[in-house]
């Protein structure tokens, strides 16, 4: 009996197929990306000039909070899970994920988590307004009553991430084709394997944090309330014990994508494969022992502050190794600049700039000036947007022909890249200036000396926002009306098992395991 997708809505609701679930993850995360982007547009529109024009400060805080939460938990993380779903079985020569039903569950609880979260916008008291880092006691004693919806939303999203990660670990460790040893796996698989372990380790910590909040708010405990013997700073320690690995959870799969794209368009194997694996592991390890560098102003003892400063500086070493390896891969290659390559190169440049500012703020005595200003906002958008989102976009352009069997329009792709790249830099580079000049982050309104660069930043943000609609158009027009992609060698320099399959690939990727030499 021929095997294929079910007909109708059942194909999606009851799917256990890695590609269908991957597709749903990708579309869901793109929808969240647009929603979070809309919030960002509200923020930038309000900050276009001094004074309150469009929203009030109360709603502004809801916007910054929801923007952060939706982008981190709704857009970036699920998009990489979607990519993992599509690619990992194809890259390791497996028919599907190891735990297909768990896969279905981990996706389908996500929309419920975000419905819980987003529904607070329409409730009395409004959406969460305490920042995506939700520091207590602003998020406990002083929170709007809707905070309980936020807490349960986070629980559900966390459960989804943990299940997704367990599935990825099980798949990578059990379903590799004969001959594919761990050190022969594509780097994207490696980075996701490490990411999955990070997720399994820290998501329960986040769940614990919000559970303690729940207890403080509803059941009279005082984990984070000094009046009852607790400690508001404890909140920050547990939050950042989750939060710092979290940022590597976001960026490591992006490293994996770039490590696939750069060699392809350089027509040269990745330089220093094994050192890439070791560097990724080193970054993952370090991510657990540096959390309090987010807290240099809370009044830690000197010894603690020194330790967290030194440990944080160390991260520059493995991160540098990765950048050097990518550049050496390009060196003496035979380079072409298709859209995925443009995005990957932009990733390296902009992520490195974000890395530089990261190194600067690792230094405690000067971070005291940077802390909680627009310098920080600029830094993390360079690594989150120009890092994770650019890598994701690169990956979509790169694998879309494989997934759909259709080729995107190269000129449109390049045009979309340039609008995106220029818009991004106009939006976020001036924020370095704003931060250094003294503008704190999460400000609904600001003094007049910040007016000029804020206006520039807003213009860039609108441009970058428009580029994402352009991207949506490119993807949809490819799926509907793209020219057929070449069956042999979509990309001249591409290596790996996924390129041995047809375009689009069969419903169950590898029904007989390929032999890897």
């Amino acid at each position: 009996m021929a095997y294929g997708p079910e007909k109708g809505i059942g194909r999606w609701l009851f799917s256990t197929n890695h590609k269908d679930i991957g597709t749903m993850y990708l579309w869901f995360s793109f929808a969240m990306f647009l929603l979070g982007g809309f919030f960002a547009m509200v923020i930038r529109a309000e900050l276009f000039e001094p004074g309150m024009q469009i929203v009030n400060p109360e709603f502004f805080n809801q916007m910054t909070t929801m923007h952060g939460l939706v982008m981190v938990f709704g857009a970036i993380m699920p998009s990489f899970v979607g990519l993992a779903n599509w690619l990992i079985p194809m890259q390791i020569g497996a028919p599907d994920m190891a735990l297909p039903r768990l896969n279905n569950l981990s996706f389908w609880i996500l929309p419920f988590g975000f419905t819980l979260l987003a529904s607070t916008l329409f409730m009395e008291g409004g959406a969460p307004n305490f920042g995506w880092t939700f520091y207590a006691p602003l998020s406990t004693t002083y929170a709007p009553s809707t905070v309980n919806f936020f807490i349960f939303g986070v629980h559900i999203i966390g459960a989804s991430s943990i299940m997704g990660s367990i599935n990825i670990i099980a798949t990578v460790l059990n379903l590799r084709a004969p001959g594919m040893t761990l050190m022969k796996m594509p780097l994207f698989v490696w980075t996701w394997l490490i990411t999955a372990f990070l997720l399994v380790a820290v998501m329960p910590v986040l769940a614990g944090t919000v559970t303690m909040m729940l207890m403080d708010i509803n059941f009279g405990t005082s984990f984070f309330d000094a009046a009852g013997g607790g400690d508001p700073v404890l909140f920050q320690h547990v939050f950042w014990f989750f939060g710092h690995p979290e940022v590597y959870i976001i960026i490591l799969p992006a490293f994996g994508v770039v490590s696939a794209v750069i060699p392809t368009f350089s027509r040269k194997p990745l330089f220093g494969y094994s050192s890439m694996v070791y560097a990724t592991s080193a970054i993952a390890f370090l991510s657990f022992i540096v959390w309090a560098h987010h807290m240099f102003t809370v009044g830690m003892p000197l010894a603690g502050e020194l330790y967290f400063m030194y440990a944080t500086m160390l991260i520059a070493v493995p991160t540098g190794v990765k950048v050097f390896n990518w550049i050496t891969t390009m060196f003496r290659g035979s380079l072409t600049f298709e859209t995925p390559m443009l995005y990957a190169i932009a990733f390296i440049i902009l992520f490195t700039i974000g890395g530089f500012t990261g190194l600067m703020m690792a230094m405690a005595p000067v971070d005291i000036q940077y802390h909680d200003t627009y310098f920080i906002v600029s830094h993390f958008h360079y690594v989150m947007v120009a890092g994770a989102v650019f890598a994701m976009t690169s990956g979509i352009y790169y694998w879309l022909p494989k997934w759909t069997g259709k080729m995107y329009n190269e000129a449109m792709g390049k045009a979309q890249f340039w609008v995106s790249f220029i818009g991004f830099n106009i939006a976020f580079f001036p924020q370095h200036f704003l931060g250094l000049a003294g503008m704190p982050r999460r400000y609904a309104d600001y003094s007049l000396q910040f007016a000029e660069w804020n206006m520039v930043s807003s213009i860039g943000a609108f441009m970058y926002g428009a580029a994402q609609l352009f991207f949506l158009y490119n993807v949809i027009s490819t799926i509907i009306a793209g020219k057929p992609a070449p069956q042999e060698k979509t990309w001249e320099g591409a290596e790996g098992l996924e390129w041995t399959l047809s375009s689009p690939p069969p419903y169950h990727s590898f029904t007989t395991p390929p032999q890897v030499k």
Partner: protein, 388 residues
Amino acid sequence: MLSRLNRLVAYALTPLFLLFFAGLSYAKEPTGSRPEGWNLLNLPVGVSSLSRNSYELHMILMWVCVAIGVVVFGIMFYSMIAHRKSLGREPATFHESTKVEMLWTIIPVLILVALAWPATTYLVERYDTDEADMDIKITGYQWKWQYEYLGEDVQFMSELSTPESAIYGDSPKSEFYLSEVSEPLVLPVGKKIRFLVTAKDVIHSWWVIDLGVKKDAIPGFVNETWVRIDEPGVYRGFCTELCGKGHAFMPIVVNAVPEDEYNGWLADKKVAVAAERELAKKTFTLDELMTKGEEAYNRSCAACHMGNGEGITGAFPALKGSAVALGAVETHMDVVINGVAGTGMQAFGGQLSEVDLAAIITYERNAWGNDMKDIVQPVDVLKFKQGQ
């Protein structure tokens, strides 16, 4: 067409990057007056050893990053220009070198060790709060600061003085829009001043960039930091920890003056405090209290309960027609003076004078259609406080 454009942009990128960082290095002179926004590109040098050290380290780090960036991006752009397929380049096949990997692990480690040296020195200096000449206790409230000159019996609240109409565009914005306060913190230059920083409700953070001081104000804990200001001047700062809807509206203004001027100010301040205490014994008429009350209410209460007394549904209760405002005077005084535990309602007993407290309570009982017709005198407030 597009490929030519790409090449153009690729060539243009390197100098652009350099230009950006050159722009970053453009330092501004520290002054009290407001410079043009376009020129504000870098950290100010500031007026204390702490801010100067931060600035110095910042510049070292920036030049180190620029140098690394020039080398790394230089090699990258060289490859992008010279090793193109369109030039007929055949790819090399090398893909490993332990020697090179060792090299670019060890060199960054050495650079980091070199950077750690000044960073450690500066951090140690920052933590030395011993042997201060004077102590100032800073308390963060939603959304204002309280300054207490320890041992001098002087304390006051410092709130935003920009009118709401300027924020919502109904009146022009002044030069120091959102950077001006009802009463600045006055400090002497040349003295080592220790700050004891805490908060009463949520976490705030006290930051004045020109002083190089930023410390979180955490409810239930007292943080220590210090500064020695070198030059007289007016230095402006902000709250830097998200603390609710008024986060952007609780600026800091420090007026640093020579020591004798400071002593004169302190003496005047003490006289004013004594006069304020004397005033509390006076008996006021309803009209006097209503006028005073409206003014004090708008300053201290309207941020949450709103100017029209209707509050914000779901967040802050209305006072218009509320059970407290229309109930027993004692309960009303208790709520205002002692706050309500576990909610955003602060204890205003320690923040406001008896006159203001009496005026606010009287106003709340007789404004917006509330019609209790009773008068709370400052003496009543005093008695209530003493009776506790």
